[in-house]
């Protein structure tokens, strides 16, 4: 098997301001394959919690649009996960 690649996959950071916004994030998780980094599952998502999740390149655009339309504040922590995977090995061999 070829190793999984993460080209242009994104990690979003969202901070729902109220229950409505928390539910928007939960709904996004139902309709997209999100990998929750923090918290580790959708059901923990709550108001005022910092939520980090990974999304595929394909789904990232629609997720971004949905968050913008719902006025949910977000930032993109990682724009290209594959780049970060490669950049983690930043120490030369002894």
């Amino acid at each position: 098997l070829a190793p999984v690649r993460f080209d242009r996959e994104k990690v979003f950071r969202v901070r729902p301001q109220d229950d409505k916004q928390a539910n928007i994030v939960k709904d996004l998780a139902k309709s997209n394959e999100l990998d929750f980094w923090y918290p580790d599952a959708t059901h923990h998502v709550a108001t005022n919690m910092t939520v980090d999740f990974r999304a595929s390149e394909k789904e990232s655009q629609s997720i971004q649009s949905a968050l913008e339309q719902s006025n949910v504040h977000f930032e993109i922590l990682i724009h290209d996960l594959q780049e970060e995977v490669e950049k983690q090995f930043d120490v030369e061999d002894d």
């Binding site: 098997l1 190793p3 999984v4 993460f6 990690v11 950071r13 990998d35 929750f36 980094w37 923090y38 918290p39 580790d40 599952a41 959708t42 059901h43 923990h44 910092t50 980090d52 990974r54 922590l77 990682i78 996960l81 970060e84 995977v85 950049k87 983690q88 090995f89 930043d90 120490v91 061999d93 002894d94």
Partner: protein, 307 residues
């Protein structure tokens, strides 16, 4: 040939196994290796016992790498063994600790998952056991312990990252660890587990908002340990009970060890706070380990004196 092990880099499983052999050969009077079981894919589960004397004395059990993708965690366990052996006879505190207590260190708990995260999928979290009636693979080992195992919602779907397994202790890795801890319960005074990320020091409980009877003691240790940690690079950690500090969990190793009778149990969520997440660059391994060492040494000193 596994290649060269480095404390400044992430090491794959082959290098870690070779490193355990090397540590035993290099410091036979202080380090011994115990195989406590094997994984579904038949990889050995090794514990390193680090301490100067044999016999009945206090011990601290530490594990790293329950979650495969949290690579900085196994890096810390290796760093701890290295620092302990290197500073014995030179550093007063470490010498005292190793003279008077043993450390049982499980450098990688979820070996199969760790290997998978190196070879196939860097973002893998669970172990690699097959699930009946599902094509989804793996159980979250930190939901598989026999403590309020079925109480959390949404952990019974094998396709979720937090799948708890078909039964408590269903996983070979969990059973190996619990059997070892049970058989050494008389000497083990503290249990520390290392995760990443979010910079926290947690104590029980996760399965209930209730606080443990000695919560004031645990909070005091948490406060001083996080203060000690911050003295090196001013890295800020928060501390507190799992349920209110991070989020409620069930079936976690920390709560299980506490309810078994180990009254000082802690979980570190190491660096960082999300800039890199699970992909902490290797250049941050050493500072992360150095500062964490300060907190762990404080906890060990406290255990030696107060338990």
């Amino acid at each position: 040939a596994p290649g060269r092990h480095s404390y400044a880099k992430y090491n794959d499983w082959g290098k870690i196994v070779a490193w355990t052999e090397k540590m035993v050969k290099k410091c036979p009077e202080m380090v011994s290796r115990i195989q406590i079981g094997s994984t579904v894919e038949n990889n050995p589960l090794y514990i390193l016992k680090v301490g100067k004397r044999a016999g009945r004395q206090k011990a601290i059990f530490m594990d790293c790498g329950i979650h495969a993708r949290e690579w900085v965690s196994p890096a810390f366990c290796q760093w701890f063994v290295y620092q302990a052996t290197k500073s014995y006879g030179k550093n007063k505190i470490m010498t005292k600790l190793l003279d008077q207590m043993n450390f049982y260190i499980l450098p990688v708990f979820n070996v199969d998952g760790y290997i998978w995260s190196w070879t196939q999928n860097r973002m893998w979290r669970k172990n690699r056991s097959r699930n009946r009636n599902s094509t989804c693979i793996g159980t979250d080992l930190n939901r598989n312990f026999d403590v309020s195992w079925s109480s959390s919602p949404n952990t019974n779907n094998p396709c979720l990252e937090t799948y708890r397994g078909p039964a408590p202790e269903s996983e070979k890795e969990t059973r190996a660890v619990t059997a070892f801890i049970r058989s050494h319960l008389k000497s083990i005074r503290a249990y520390i587990t290392f995760h990443s990320y979010s910079q926290m020091l947690l104590y029980p409980y996760g399965y209930t908002p209730r606080l443990p009877p000695n919560h004031e003691d645990l909070a005091k240790v948490g406060r001083i340990a996080t203060e000690a940690l911050s003295t090196r690079y001013e890295t800020r950690y928060v501390y507190g009970p799992i349920a209110s500090t991070i989020y409620p969990t069930s079936g976690s190793s920390l709560d299980w060890a506490y309810d078994l009778g180990i009254k000082h149990t802690f979980a570190f969520e190491l660096r960082d706070k999300g800039k890199f997440g699970f992909l902490l660059p290797e250049s941050r391994i050493k500072p992360t380990c150095r500062e964490t060492m300060l907190a762990v040494k404080f906890i060990a000193k406290y255990i030696l004196k107060h338990t």
